[in-house]
């Protein structure tokens, strides 16, 4: 599905990605983990073409990105910070994205139902709370049914019931055979939705495999401690 080879990216003097090599197979959920500033979001933005790498290649379905923007039709993206044009209403925004992506069978109606967004449809995005914005964000990302889903910190600002709904949603998308990339700092959430993780440290892939492999590699009993032990080593 996604092949990343030797990816380098520098912002000013800050070398964020230092030769990332990564293969993501089709189908399944992959959690991209790493400490703050390790390059998770940069990597995701490189896949989306929002950040242009200094060197290296990214292929999606054996097709190199950067030649055309059409490949993004197969990617749904949930950005980390839900920033929307503030003088549009929720409904207008949803219709605009549908129009831009030319989605014929959008499932926005049922998602609005799931996240109880109906009372907010006519409200301006600038007047919504952080959690409600994140729900709108989720609706936008899930409505177009693309084979690849990229979720950057999907849990931020959500209440427990919405979090539960999100987990159900992610699992049902996985059942359909989609490939889902998730970044999160909430280890319990990661553990609940997936078993496959990719750990990025200082701009390189430090570990790729299952959670149990990581536990045995680090000699820790639980996942959270396993991650913490990697981080401690790297800071020491």
């Amino acid at each position: 599905m996604i092949q990343i080879k030797n990816l380098y990216k520098k912002f000013g003097k800050n070398q964020v990605l230092q030769g990332v090599d990564l293969d993501i197979e089709t189908g399944g959920i992959f959690a991209v983990l790493g400490p703050n500033g390790s390059g998770k979001t940069t990597l995701i933005k490189c896949i989306l073409g929002m950040v242009i790498p200094d060197s290296g290649t990214i292929n999606i379905n054996d097709y190199p990105i950067g030649k055309s923007e059409e490949y993004r039709r197969n990617i749904d993206y949930l950005p980390q910070i839900a920033n929307f044009p503030s003088n549009l209403s929720v409904e207008e925004l949803i219709n605009m994205i549908k129009d831009l992506r030319v989605i014929k069978t959008a499932k926005d109606k049922e998602l609005i139902e799931v996240f109880k967004l109906a009372p907010y449809l006519k409200k301006k995005l600038g007047n919504l709370s952080g959690g409600t914005k994140q729900k709108v964000n989720i609706v936008l990302a899930f409505m177009s049914d693309s084979p690849l889903l990229i979720l950057d910190e999907p849990t931020s600002g959500l209440d427990p019931i919405s979090l539960l709904r999100l987990k159900e949603l992610i699992n049902s998308e996985k059942e359909k055979g989609k490939t889902i990339l998730i970044t999160s700092h909430i280890m319990s959430f990661v553990e609940q939705v997936t078993n496959d993780i990719v750990f990025i440290l200082e701009g390189k892939i430090y570990f790729k495999g299952s959670i149990s492999e990581l536990k045995s590699k680090t000699g820790q009993e639980d996942f959270e401690h396993a991650i913490a032990s990697i981080l401690q080593k790297s800071y020491a």
Binding site: K45, E69, P79, P85, M96, L100
Partner: protein, 260 residues
Amino acid sequence: MLKILKYSCYDLLRSRWSYVYFAFYLMLGTVLLFLNNDLSKAVITLMNVIIVLVPLIGTIFGVMYYYNSKEFTELLLAQPVKRSSIFLGQYLGVALSLTLSLVVGLGLPFAFYGIFNSAAMSEFTLLLVTGAFLTLIFTALAYNIALSNENKIKGFGYAILLWLFMAVIYDGVFLMSLIAFEEYPLDKFSLIATMANPIDLSRVLILLKLDISALLGYTGAVFQKFFGTNFGIVISSIMLVIWVLVPTYFIYRKAKKKDF
């Protein structure tokens, strides 16, 4: 790109500022006409206002819109839309809605006053066309500045400096150099210097058309002598088009390489 243009225009037409700008021109047009009672005099006064104010508004709006619509841009970048369409669409959205405010705002009072049946019709049209060009040019320049500066304050600062330079300082430096080098032939120098500043260029263009030699000044006179009135108008119009195309091309190039 048309979709982006549509949404940008839609977004802008809902913002208060377009209406303030529109109302300002409406008032300016009305006041000028009722104070002057003479169409061609009103056109001259209007020229002086447009030539300074339109670039200022274009620069400020361009920079402001870019920084304000950053979220919108980021949302669009993840969609299957070409980068160049996003930025060119947004740029045209701002420039066209500003042009619309200008043309409609000034056009209405003049139309009611009976500009269509008067001799000043072609001058007035030229004035509006020049205003539209200045809007396109300065919004494009502002977009370039905003694209190269992540920091809003810096972006605004450079934009204001650009306007100040083009509208005020440039003429000062130009005149001083004319005085300093008065012993040398300065025709070619002043021709090039005029073409290098879209504000001067527009002024010469309108004055050539109005055919008021007293207001032409040195550069205008050189223009007229060198090219003759009609050819002078053609040359300065071509230069204005180039002034739109070059910064627009730079927007296209910068947008391709930028990280978000």
